[in-house]
Symmetry: D2
Subunit: 375 residues, 4 copies
Amino acid sequence: MEEIRIGLVGSGWMGKAHSSALADAQMLFGPECGVAKFVVVADSNEAADKAAQEKIGFERITTDWRDVVTAPDVDLVDIATPNAFHYEVAKAALANGKNVYCEKPLSISAAESRELAELAAQKGVINYVGFNNTMNPANAYVRELVQSGALGKIMRFTGTYDQDQLLDESLPITWRHINKLAGCGALGDLGSHLLSISQFIMGDIAKVNAMSTVVFPKRPKAPGSSEMADVENEDIMTFMAEYANGAIGTIACSRVATGRKNYLCYEIQGTKGSVRYDLERMGEVQVYFQSDDERDRGFRTVLLNPQMKGYSAFQPAGGISIAYNDMKILEVHELFSAITQGTPYACNFEFGYKIDRTVAAVLESAKTHAWVDVE
Amino acid sequence: MEEIRIGLVGSGWMGKAHSSALADAQMLFGPECGVAKFVVVADSNEAADKAAQEKIGFERITTDWRDVVTAPDVDLVDIATPNAFHYEVAKAALANGKNVYCEKPLSISAAESRELAELAAQKGVINYVGFNNTMNPANAYVRELVQSGALGKIMRFTGTYDQDQLLDESLPITWRHINKLAGCGALGDLGSHLLSISQFIMGDIAKVNAMSTVVFPKRPKAPGSSEMADVENEDIMTFMAEYANGAIGTIACSRVATGRKNYLCYEIQGTKGSVRYDLERMGEVQVYFQSDDERDRGFRTVLLNPQMKGYSAFQPAGGISIAYNDMKILEVHELFSAITQGTPYACNFEFGYKIDRTVAAVLESAKTHAWVDVE
Amino acid sequence: MEEIRIGLVGSGWMGKAHSSALADAQMLFGPECGVAKFVVVADSNEAADKAAQEKIGFERITTDWRDVVTAPDVDLVDIATPNAFHYEVAKAALANGKNVYCEKPLSISAAESRELAELAAQKGVINYVGFNNTMNPANAYVRELVQSGALGKIMRFTGTYDQDQLLDESLPITWRHINKLAGCGALGDLGSHLLSISQFIMGDIAKVNAMSTVVFPKRPKAPGSSEMADVENEDIMTFMAEYANGAIGTIACSRVATGRKNYLCYEIQGTKGSVRYDLERMGEVQVYFQSDDERDRGFRTVLLNPQMKGYSAFQPAGGISIAYNDMKILEVHELFSAITQGTPYACNFEFGYKIDRTVAAVLESAKTHAWVDVE
Amino acid sequence: MEEIRIGLVGSGWMGKAHSSALADAQMLFGPECGVAKFVVVADSNEAADKAAQEKIGFERITTDWRDVVTAPDVDLVDIATPNAFHYEVAKAALANGKNVYCEKPLSISAAESRELAELAAQKGVINYVGFNNTMNPANAYVRELVQSGALGKIMRFTGTYDQDQLLDESLPITWRHINKLAGCGALGDLGSHLLSISQFIMGDIAKVNAMSTVVFPKRPKAPGSSEMADVENEDIMTFMAEYANGAIGTIACSRVATGRKNYLCYEIQGTKGSVRYDLERMGEVQVYFQSDDERDRGFRTVLLNPQMKGYSAFQPAGGISIAYNDMKILEVHELFSAITQGTPYACNFEFGYKIDRTVAAVLESAKTHAWVDVE
């Protein structure tokens, strides 16, 4: 049993989600793959810091994240700050030779992400970005179908990630609407999750052609205020893509998609089969095999089951719901296994950088109204 | 090409539906299997009679159905009257040696239906009851799956036919609520359709145990009236059944099923596979095969397609909607083929009698609160 | 009662479908809106011609379509030829002052369609293009939701029309793969149906940006042949659109979409509500209203019902399947009402031209890889 | 913050699930409602005992459950043994004045459960049975709809709980097939979950009429063995019920339901609305309101959201999956709140007894083939 000493930066909702996953992994997988020891938590908000300490059991707290990245008794720096701070904290942690677990996105620009990916490679430490959808047994299953050739040559990827959390135009401006804090709008927040799945299953995108819109260009400066501020980034992004493997992509996202709550939905069509998945129905994958008898062919509603990677950690039999948060537990297991046993993992900083450079190309195309090569 | 001379009794909605199907069959199947000639229509309502003549083209009209069953230039007596008159008209038609096409139910009592079935057998004429659901390519497909053994030994049939057309308690009493006109309530109107499918696919029911309820025991004597009349029969019927083949059945129907419009839905579970079908989604059958690879197993959404009996009469490729009314066209084709070519058909009066004797057993059980043998 | 004398050009599958609808309309709607008289049918294949005469009852046949467009006893020229001949026949019919009912598409080029639309306007005759999806009660309902403002400001239209009929690469070259016969590939065959719905509900598209692919660039010259011929047009087309009303569009179609049979599926998101419709589940529309109580909000599965335009012609109560072919009957009713009563209709040649000019812009964009204005 | 000292009896899968929930509750709800202290775990299998200690952190272990129920430093006895031992352990724990948290079912007979319920009431301690489905926000929502009158007068409850885990007839005999260990078959294992929901939402069942079947009457004594043993209890149970509130019930369960994995599915029809829920699609409830405009009425797919009891403990926004295991965390929260703050709870031993007496009545009816009163 190896103890992994955690230094957490950021004790908001995401920091708690990480901590909870760090604690649960041991219960599910046993101490063999590593046991989290909660050493230090940093948050500029001291009250939040103390609450985290009490609930989770950190040994000490600090309001300065630099204390975490330099602490000699920390093995893994866990970054759960607002997106705009990922870069600075991750860079310092890497510079100090720490293993780093950074919530998605890696940073808010392709340039920063590239720098982090290069630094991480150079330092030889574990560098993990929390694109939790790659841990979903459903997506792991789809990847297996694609990569085994069971779906034939892939012709087409169509996907959208729609939510309506910002549909209410009386909701005030937040950091999400400001580019220097968020990088971009729906694309970074939602689209990047879909891009992580696309990258995981389909590989690199070669070029993109995008169109975006801001449905609500102004929002109140504060709740109820009549003073308005500019929304700086897209409510809806839609783009066409050409994959390195020759497939056509049509990808979109919206944060004002009336009626959609967590509609990350995609379809992949190959010459021998197709799949469709919708995160609002997390427990089922639609799969079609051309090789079935013609009379009896149809999309199968395949319920998540123990033969799909990750599922059996939670349930002994198929068809039982697993939660969004369980993906975080699988993520921690992937991360801890990498630390303690050197097992490979997909979501390293290079992976995070690939997402961010695609994001950058999409944003550029939306401005130039022309095809843009990725990279 | 053989001409089949039609005498229609009853020119209401159902009479028109029959006529339309009688005319369309020729266009779809060609004149080889028989061409309808519209000779005479009888309806006590002369205006309805004339309207039918004008729209459909009958040569003559009458207000006395006896003119139809005795007419020497009529080959096929088509009965589309209210249910309570089926028996008398069919009996007279058979007595005159006519082929008979009777809308479901065959009659409103098992005794009458038995008499008709015996008379028909004795006369050797074509005797067809319009249980149109047996013509649905979906049900034909399910029957094939069951009878070929593809689903293994059948363990269980679960079905319901729910509508909410009588949910509104301000709707007045009609013939449907009066036993001497309707025989019974939801069971005869809706349940009998489900029983026809059950009979078609699963064969005979051996015994039943039923429970019924009248949700709205009184209704206005007329629209808007404050005078109330008694509802004589069930709004909801539910029963357990034991099939002759050993399977367990759970069957129900309701005419006050809030939210359900045409919810004839059933599931059959066999040891090698299962199917589920819902008439509100008429175009798709859910099928599960235990022999599929464990990881990839799931109910398949099989869209109606040309490999299912009857479908290709309407569409050259799968996945295109066919209509409830198209079942009537297939029914006419089945009937005409029997007349002109002697082909066998499932829905003869014996079949109709089997439905009605099951209905009778269910009604008796609902009264005695005990198991009742069918027959 | 007014008799409408029909001259049909083309007696293949589509010619029969038109004839069947022409005959059925009277049965459903009564003779008030016009009664079809089947005068003459033209087909270069004399055997097909004779079969049509026998099944449908045309008074005379001819192998030269010019006999139809010039016949003094023809009121309505019905064009059901292969697409490439629509232009020539329609032009001649219009020149002779005939009312014209042309199966979709209007022609195989925007220029030809424009000429026909202008000529029709000038002649003042009835000019109808058979985009039957506009007759679907579901689409009529969605249009009403959009145009009444019930969905608020429309932000986004996403749609695809996918089939897999040409997935099998051993299927030989047909006219569909040759541009001088088909104009284009999946876009003209499938995409145009989706465009007709988009045009009907959303109005004009202002500009487009497209991407296409040919998945199977060569096909056998004949079934089983080892000699191969070039496929000249797209298997998959996908494009982004900007609507005149400011909404964003993402539209696609594929004729090689594994597992999809009749998947014309679209979603419209407005600021107050959203709808989703899928032709494989023709009988239901998914509708979401933001005004519902927050706890209870969800997409409603609204079954087709008598309150939707056209439905009550077929069924007295909701939830009962109507068929793809029934749209053709409603189309004939729309057409006949225009002829006999001067009622307005949406699918005139101007409408057909709008579809074809959008098609032309999409094809150009797919070549130039840049945004193209429509017209 | 109050510490609750846990003594766990049984360290198998369920014991671990309980422990995990006991630990997580604090992270989600904070220490205010009580913090679990893992004092002692008992299991006759010493290796399992040690593993539990290591993963969960119990202070001491024992192979004799009597050490737990008598330990002065234990506040709450948590019973996660095989079903047949619940009675003995719970009785001893109650006798020693301990609070008791017993996994469902309360015991394997109505008589034992009655005794426990009476003893618990007499002792005045917290007595909780782990019917976790009552914690599902979906079921809490449905209960609220029913009890608020939003669905009107309830007419009908239809439900089934189907799994196919015992479909494979080569699976050997286990305790589940032996009545002295399991009490009964599918009814106790699966049906009791459905009964707990029925009891929670609909209240008491007055009488029942049941039918059962054993599909595979013999199973191997051990894996691969050719020696066979008798299966003593039902594979399928189906029954009709009359509720105290007058509603009709149709309830079933099967452990050999081909294709069904976790199909706990029920529908409730009231005079003003209906709901349908299916545990295989845990995240959505189908709800229909008769008060919606007629044209736009349809079952709404309401995704779990923060307005439903329990949901917001896990996610800040709707539409995100929560897991089967999360119900256990909510259960612990309910239990801890009862202990520390005296809040009321539904699933006490009286509730457990009501389930078990219904089970007893169903079993008797399946034997006598007649209606049996509950109690």
